[in-house]
């Protein structure tokens, strides 16, 4: 099951990425009301090969199914390279998914 939608594209000297993570992002308040455990994405990275292009620590206040857009220099990104996104949530669930970078000849 896809846990993420990943789009990565090189345009000129910029690598443009858009990622949507499938996650309910249950805040502590919702959790209290519904009697479930709070759970939200706490840590996200994006990598091309070994190079980190994006890294963030996040809190409960990202929207449900959060979207992140980011840009990084495209230098060194080759055809066939993949953007590997990784996230981890409060329950300890870890998800890694990769997608080929588009826009390269």
């Amino acid at each position: 099951m896809a846990n993420m939608k990943i789009k990565a594209k090189v345009k000129g000297d910029t690598l443009k990425c858009k990622v949507q993570m499938k996650h309910d992002m249950i805040t502590y308040n919702i959790a209290k009301k519904k009697g479930v455990d709070a759970n939200f994405i706490t840590y996200v990275t994006g990598k091309i090969g070994d190079r980190i292009v994006f890294e963030a620590s996040t809190s409960q206040f990202l929207s449900k199914n959060p979207i992140i857009k980011f840009e990084a220099p495209s230098e060194g990104v080759k055809k066939g390279d993949e953007l590997t996104m990784y996230w981890k949530d409060l329950s300890g669930k870890e998800v890694t998914e990769a997608k080929k970078v588009k826009g390269l000849k």
Binding site: M25, T27, N29, R51, Q60, F61
Partner: protein, 149 residues
């Protein structure tokens, strides 16, 4: 989308310190940041006692957010940054996200969607590679509170 789920303000949440793996993880290194109720306290917990300049950064948000459950927040910088942190004052805790900026990123251009319970102010604080701190704040109106904090 069951937006109804998000409506209304609940009780103040009990903050926990989550476990983490990475050395760069702000949640592990700066746990107090995520528990701080006020923006100032959160900034202090993250960066210490700083005097940020009111320049270098830009926030892009709609003036009126129709749905507080997913407010697009664009973050841009004119200066090279080491890290960037996003706060708001409408939810029980202030911190939203902290980004570690890779060294080869010259100017930041990020976007994410956040939840806000009510109208409030979004604050962005960046730590420059030159050792200076930058800050920008922007108020916005939330027509329909989308977050229970």
């Amino acid at each position: 989308m069951e937006r109804r789920k998000f409506l209304g303000l609940g009780l103040v949440a009990v903050a926990l310190v989550p476990a983490s793996l990475s050395a760069f993880d702000f949640r592990k290194d700066k746990p107090d940041t995520w528990k701080a109720k006020k923006v100032d306290e959160a900034i202090k917990a993250l960066y210490g006692d700083i005097k940020p300049e009111e320049s270098g950064l830009t926030i892009n948000v709609p003036k009126i957010a129709s749905n507080g459950g997913a407010i697009p927040v664009g973050m841009k910088s004119d200066v090279q940054l080491k890290s960037l942190a996003l706060f708001q004052d409408a939810n029980p805790e202030a911190a939203v996200a902290a980004f570690t900026i890779p060294a080869d990123v010259k100017t930041v251009n990020y976007m994410t969607k956040i939840k806000m319970a009510k109208s409030g102010e979004i604050t962005l604080v960046g730590e420059g590679t030159d050792g200076k701190f930058y800050k920008v704040s922007k108020k916005l109106d939330v027509a329909l509170g989308g977050c229970e904090g």
